[in-house]
Symmetry: C2
Subunit: 758 residues, 2 copies
């Protein structure tokens, strides 16, 4: 029986620990949360489960979008909810705690870090002044703190539901978070409950409430509560009177130096937050929480395996890319205070204008069931709030950036045949965007300038972001047509295919810039092209400025948000026709002229590596039958702008958008979101295995790939010659192998069968 | 010194009890909350402070809008929040309690009333089966229950935050309240806390949360909690998991038979609800709470004094009218979960389409400071939610009925020169309604069909309530012009004065009905008059029906909400031009034809006494110089349709609309809301004194008024002949006396100087 027991034990261990053996080789160890943390990346650096609702992190002042800033900036405290990679005004930063040693007589316990240690699921810092060590890990809805005070030091902790990121002294300042209310109660000698209610922030959203329940493994020896500038020694609770509240707790000097704190978070109630603790972390073992988190990530990261010989540098870049893609949107299923919690609920679509291009397609490829959940959550939002989300956060649609880009996400799910989605409902939701002006607040949801767009076939100058809107709507119309056709709604298909040409209405054919002809340029409602554009509220001065395709900034008197192209130039947006690039080629003067256009674009640094509108551009040589030029551009961009340093992302990561662009290109695939194929480019990885959900796998194998042999000479798909530089999604999910034979010079491969078009 | 003490005592008593001495003569005793409780009135019958947030009442099944139904209908329990006088789907009915005797083993404790006793501020009933007596009174945010159990009976109480009015088995049924979540916690042996989160209801609003804190003057001996159909004997809390929760408490058989319960309510948090108790009722004296409530009402009711010889019947009708006018909208200042609580916040504008005509003007006349607060709350809603309220409830704009009628309220405040309102902001808010289509959900706020209205000058048939919209918008445009002119914005004035003629675009001059020519009739977007109108979703059957000016109901296949005239007919709405009645007279064929039109209208019962669109009609003889005919009609309507019985209101009281119509007419004044005057009619009251806010008073005195001497022969204003049948608001607020000399036959008084017009 001894043997049997051993075998049973071994099998049991295998089942339980199949992902934890060989810890060194585990993929999650290649995730470096610090990549993209400095410079413009703004990624969240703290521990987070995949799509995790709770994201604890230090807040280094109230300014940074992700909470964190590099040393030596001071730390205000550690709050439990953050976003990743965002620009503009801050959001969240709720329920802050801060360990300290000393009297319970001041709220500000700002400290400086002596050191910091960050890895996936784990944050650690030691404060310089008081030598207190704080370690953090997290479950889905509960964060876990292990605080170690120096020997003989008194153990104090601040809990501050009055704190939030982005506070601004100007009342109702745009994009600033605004305090609405907060509350705190010391429930017992080991429990504190309360909430923070905040409105505004980047998406100018309605008030949201973050409830908490905190438990400690040592009894509170002494406490004071605080409200609106005053301490109350004899009150264990401060009710919500529209003022900030907090509490300072002392655990004394007796007992162990290690204080463990679990903070349950909920968007429903404090008791629900407590229940989240009981459900997720019914123990006091920090390492168990960390391991569970690591395992969750390991399961997901291992869906894509890179060949063993891949450099650590590349492994880090790639797996960190996957990681960044899956920390938002946030799974709030069971935590929706707006309607019944009987369906999936995700929040923090921040924003779909950023993520539709590569983040959603990457989630679909890695974890299509998750993408189905996210799409269904989007449809639930449409059903209850009236419109699909675009820039949704804090339980509120609140802002759109360019188009109604959720439509691309729905079309992408449809063309990739994701099951378990009501596509009739999806079509309804898309048509709501496309046909019903959102009114009132035109930047909140749906399509701004829709009335003009439908009447004129373009959004005229004067409507904010008229250029982005026109270009995005035309593509979103194509997305609608795609789904309509699949559902055999040919009347809708015909209408929207026609509308998908609307980008042509802003194509100024004779306009020349840097030797290139034809640009998307501003036009007024009367149909006149505008060389000089007027902006600003003044009716007397009427300042004008010359609008050119290279304009990246608006003059000081033009509101950033109201320009013709927001976060983009005409050089970029004139290429932004993902459904009809052959027509752009033709309009640009044919293949050679288009090639020259692209070369000018990249060589003159008109390509903006830091923002999403340029994402598809490097692959556009595919459409003139020169995929090797695409690969050259991609390689150049990655080499120049992406690496494993803290500043290793060239722009705001925008909820994984930048990271997923990189991850796709590293394995030689690039999606044209909303369409059923990937462009094929020279991968950085010699051999990639996609572990598909139904047990199948798809392998991308290169032969002879090296720094010099970087061009595809020929390809085999499942053993058969494959002469196109693009591959259908369905060919991947069927499973199989794509072998790319590499050579030192460009070949005829992929030059004749161009990518599909409308 | 003895004398002095006595004097001091007397003076002190006078100050403290000036409103409580002579209890019999107190005006609040003339309020009968039962008037309008049966039939269509639907008034709230429970105790309520003026504009009180908390309105406890029995819920007799989940159906009645106000909670209450007459005996013998069963009582489900007593909930703390209700509305008054509403139609359509139910709203509120939150945090229900129910006393019972017996085992803690069933949630349904429905009982039947043996008797009921209701007066202002006080509700009492004894249940038939168990002889438990329940008495209720209330403070602003806290309800107070005195429950008397029979001798030796065991004292049990259910607390049920899962209950709400209007539950409907159909998921997402329109106008039905929908359960979102609830929670309950037994905090100590005398305290229970929790909340109820509900969405939907009549205005299809977003989720709102009602928090409570309940305290008892006896300790809980035993309890069970309940969730989603199951009892939990050992759990003192049920957290929110999207399921209904409740608790059954037993106070045992020991101790006194009387159990007192205070239930604090808050829209912010449970602790705020607790604080509301501590602030408002820091004691256990039921009678003190009741007296305080009575005093609050007494202060307000005594602003209008009727002559001593007024019949009890008239006193009851009048003071109950005032009372009904001041129980909604609800003062939620300090209880707004959406934004900072540093300004006034009122909710339950239910709806302004109902109340703008008479309720708002009556509040302005009695308590102009309150009206300033309400208007400022409306402007705060505009600032934060983007639009003025119309049918707002549960902290959400959600529905409009006809026009953007808040504009009339703002114009009314402006022409009556109310101080402390930012009228520049008010104009902005009005222009938002008038110029920015609400989009998305066109029935939520702003103006439905605005794009068509601006393009065509009318709302074409096909847009829901096209007739109401066109007629209301034209008047609302006049309201905007009024304010614009006062602010010297003549460009806006000119534009909106022009638009205020838009009603003429639906005036079908040659259309004849019952010998009357000229009606507001449906027109399509192409400009064609429609004799037959098509409706319904079917594109195949295309059912049509003949549209006539007497249509009061739509065929079964037409949605009630989408008809040409919602809650009205063309007979009524063809007169609905409060700013340009001389033009209606002219278009109707001159004074005689108009008189015939009005006679036909009333004699054929085309006048709808039960709804607001007809409100101004009885006074319209004024505009042809025959105010005595107006008085005859008014007297007839009051005699026929208003009395002190339970069915003494002829239609939904709609937050006091019906009641304020009556109250105005009883004292001989009638406002044309949005314009600075009152029409003068024969009062029912011999002598009325308006106690104005700055110590002045205005008296309306009749001479020789009797059933036969019911016509004004001549009038004196402050001793000077006053020959017009209307009086400016400013003449009233200056203080003074209007003496009406009565006669048995109509005279030439008021026949020549007609009411002001645009």
């Amino acid at each position: 029986m001894k043997l049997n027991t051993k075998i049973m034990f071994f099998l049991g261990m295998s089942l339980f620990f199949s992902t934890t053996i060989n810890a060194q080789n585990q993929l999650h160890n290649y995730v470096d949360p610090m990549i993209g943390s400095e410079g413009d990346g703004r990624v969240f650096i703290g521990p987070s489960c995949p799509y995790g609702m709770v994201k604890p992190s230090p807040d280094c002042t109230v300014r940074p979008n992700s909470g964190w800033l590099p040393l030596p900036t001071e730390v205000t405290g550690f709050s439990q909810v953050h976003v990743s990679g965002t620009g503009g005004g801050q959001k969240y930063g709720n329920i802050q705690i801060m360990p300290f040693s000393g009297a319970l007589d001041k709220l500000d316990q700002t400290s400086y870090r002596a050191e910091e240690n960050i890895k996936l699921g784990y944050y650690e810092t030691v404060f310089k002044e008081n030598q207190i060590k704080t370690e953090i890990t997290t479950a889905e809805k509960v964060s876990f703190y292990r605080i170690t005070y120096p020997k003989n030091a008194s153990k104090e902790l601040k809990i501050d539901p009055g704190f939030f990121l982005g506070e601004n002294p100007e009342p109702n300042a745009r994009e600033a978070q605004q305090f609405v209310g907060s509350q705190i109660e010391i429930v017992s000698d080991t429990e504190v409950r309360g909430y923070s209610r905040i409105r505004g922030g980047w998406n100018n959203g309605r008030a949201y409430t973050v409830y908490f329940w905190a438990v400690f493994d040592q009894p509170i020896a002494k406490h004071v509560t605080w409200k609106d500038g005053k301490f109350y020694a004899n009150q264990s609770a401060q009710f919500d009177s529209g003022k900030k509240t907090a509490a300072l707790l002392s655990f004394g000097t007796a007992g162990k130096q290690e204080l463990n704190v679990k903070i349950g978070i909920s968007f429903l109630s404090e008791l629900k937050a407590k229940n989240n603790i009981e459900t997720e972390i019914p123990h006091w073992n920090f390492n168990t929480v960390l391991s569970a988190l690591e395992n969750k990530w390991e399961q997901l990261l291992s869906r894509i395996k890179l060949s063993a010989d891949t450099s650590n540098e590349y492994k880090k870049m790639f797996y960190t890319g996957l990681y960044h893609t899956m920390i938002m949107p946030v799974n709030r299923t069971g935590e929706n205070p707006l309607w019944e919690n009987d369906g999936p609920y995700y929040d923090d679509f921040y924003t779909i204008w950023d993520t539709f291009r590569t983040s959603s397609p990457l989630i679909t490829l890695i974890d299509s069931k998750r993408q189905v959940e996210i799409v269904n959550a989007m449809l639930n939002i449409y059903k209850h709030d009236g419109y699909l989300p675009e820039g949704r956060s804090g339980n509120d649609n609140g802002r759109t950036q360019g188009g109604s880009n959720a439509e691309t996400v729905l079309a992408d799910a449809f063309v990739k045949n994701l099951k378990g989605i009501d596509y009739e409902l999806a079509l309804k939701a898309m048509l709501k965007d496309a046909e019903v002006p959102p009114g009132g607040n035109e930047e909140k949801e749906g399509r701004a300038g829709l009335v003009d767009y439908l009447r004129l076939g373009y959004v005229p100058f004067g409507v904010g972001r008229a250029g982005n809107c026109t270009m995005d709507y035309a593509y979103n119309d194509y997305n609608i047509a795609t789904v309509a056709k699949g559902l055999n709604r040919m009347d809708i298909y015909d209408r929207y295919m026609k509308q998908s040409n609307n980008w042509k209405n802003l194509w100024r054919a004779d306009y020349e810039n840097k030797g290139t002809k034809g640009f998307i340029m501003p036009k007024d409602a009367a149909g006149n092209w505008l060389d000089d554009v007027v902006f600003g509220e003044s009716k007397i001065q009427k300042p004008t400025y010359k609008y050119t395709p290279t304009i990246t900034e608006s003059p000081w008197y033009v509101c950033h948000w109201c320009v013709f192209f927001y976060e983009g130039t005409s050089w970029e947006y004139s290429l932004s026709v993902p459904h009809d690039l052959p027509e752009v080629v033709r309009k640009s003067g044919g293949e050679l002229a288009f090639q020259k256009r692209l070369d000018t674009f990249f060589d003159n640094k008109l390509y903006d590596v830091s923002n999403e509108p340029s994402f598809l551009a490097p692959t556009m040589y595919h459409w003139i039958g020169k995929p090797y030029l695409s690969s050259d551009r991609i390689m150049g961009i990655i080499n120049e702008s992406f690496n494993t340093s803290h500043a290793g992302l060239p722009g705001n990561d925008d909820s994984g958008a930048m990271s997923s662009w990189l991850a796709f290109h590293m394995i030689g695939l690039y999606p044209n979101a909303g369409q059923p194929y990937y462009l094929l480019n020279t991968p950085l990885i010699k051999e990639t295995t996609l572990q598909l959900e139904d047990g199948k796998s798809f392998k991308i194998t290169t032969k002879n790939l090296s720094d010099t042999k970087k061009y595809v000479k020929s390809a085999l798909l499942n053993g058969k010659p494959f002469n196109q530089a693009w591959i259908l999604h369905e060919d991947i999910v069927k499973g199989g192998e794509l072998i790319l034979e590499m050579d030192s010079k460009p070949s005829a491969w992929g030059t004749t069968i161009l990518p599909p078009t409308k």
